[in-house]
Symmetry: C2
Subunit: 313 residues, 2 copies
Amino acid sequence: MTGVPSRAGDPALPAWRDGAAKRAILDFVARVTTVGHPDFVAPADRVAVFDNDGTLWAEHPLPVQARFVLDRIHALAPRNPQWKHQQPFKAVLEGDVAGIMSAGMDDLAKLVMATHAGMTTDEFAALVRDWIATARDPRFGRLHTDLVYRPMLDVLALLRANGFRTFIVSGGGIEFMRTFSEEVYGIPPEQVIGTSIVTRYVVRDGAPQLLREAELHFFDDKEGKPVAINAHIGRRPIAAFGNSDGDFAMLEWVTSRPGSSFGLLVHHDDAGREFAYDRDAGLARLSRGLDEGPGRGWTIASVKHDWEVVFPD
Amino acid sequence: MTGVPSRAGDPALPAWRDGAAKRAILDFVARVTTVGHPDFVAPADRVAVFDNDGTLWAEHPLPVQARFVLDRIHALAPRNPQWKHQQPFKAVLEGDVAGIMSAGMDDLAKLVMATHAGMTTDEFAALVRDWIATARDPRFGRLHTDLVYRPMLDVLALLRANGFRTFIVSGGGIEFMRTFSEEVYGIPPEQVIGTSIVTRYVVRDGAPQLLREAELHFFDDKEGKPVAINAHIGRRPIAAFGNSDGDFAMLEWVTSRPGSSFGLLVHHDDAGREFAYDRDAGLARLSRGLDEGPGRGWTIASVKHDWEVVFPD
């Protein structure tokens, strides 16, 4: 599930249709990897960053991690009979979609903390692995780790075959993504950057553990993405891939580097094969990126026109 | 300055005297890298973490970064005439060592924030680079980047020659260390973990920048080290190297992994060639490590007995 391995001679980006977007990606990789080219970038600096939700895998109508939260509330409900009478838990247990969608940030935080805190890092990883191995998307009936964007797996494979290190920089949970990122995307845990909860080191019965606390440590979205990139990587990447205005600052940061750089936004415009959403999409909105991206030299990739294949078979 | 490159056939750890510590390091590396050995560890999991101050370079009687703070206070004094009358700045400017040593944490924080915040990340890196290139240790008269422990450079080289990724995990400033860690230790920026200040993304005159704010983001010491290791690396390392009780939790975390692991503490007991300090050393104290380390299977390396050479020529 890590994309077509790019062996010498294989055509690159097989899931992309010929067009301006495909050419832009290939031209960029060619320029920065050709010794002697004015845009050449030394291998150590070939760092590419990828948003996850909506860029590497499907996020509509609900991000996968939000589905995890809802399923975990149901799973924990027997231990928490009081939830039948407490919002926002009541709305979740009753399937009251309108109630959930209208929940404020404080209520959403309660749902997240109830399902993401109060266990060790190992226990949380086990919960996620078990869930990810069985939870299916209601529209396609497939595992979420199957609903990855095949053309983006091709991009990951192309970049890595050309000496790039690929990182995820996501608003999603860092520990959530680390349970599958290596197997699904070929991106190892140390190259996953995301939102994190506070963890605390304790020794219990002689066994050291990291406990997940009910407190946000860092929200890796919008202007937080360049901050997190600087904290984790300490280099400015040369290529950035996103799909929403939550990625605008990341693309702006990467493409303002001195020297060659590349920015791409995936535009979800294909309701038939997957989902169409942009300017009215709430937190997943893509509006400023569509307006300003082309003028900044960013590539806008249309799912409908640029992607021959959306999901792997 | 990255240690003797270990080419096949070169004797490993040339700056170490034959003895139990040297043998323990070599035996560990041999066991975990030998296919078929019960202690074999796959290359992807061969992660080693190193404290910096007192482990990779000298920290006594004052950590290098503390010298940077004092020098920067002097450099900034002309712009801050009020400091002549304000503690703790007054004590620094007057060379009042007793006054500085007795400063409380709030006062120390003022000194750190005055010298580490209020500029962009690029501006700070330039300040550090300029200072590190000229500041000399008062006892040895050498650049601080020359007062690195040659035997530890040998350890870094040995591990990397055997498929390990080497990380720094330090209470020192992440951005401070990143200015020299690659050149001096062969450790790239994304493998440097340290204490960090809050940074904020802004766009000024169309140019994106990261501003360093006068607020601590994370203090990477003691129980904070396993937390930071989990956050940045997402794997439990298999080897850990430190020199003080500030590294105890890191060694405890690493050596409690299922499977083979290695922990080593450098014991500074050689006042003649460098410095002797342990149980009475304040923040750099090594006491619990000496008491409990051997019973936990950790190696205690004596500078006096185990190191043939201390600093590079």
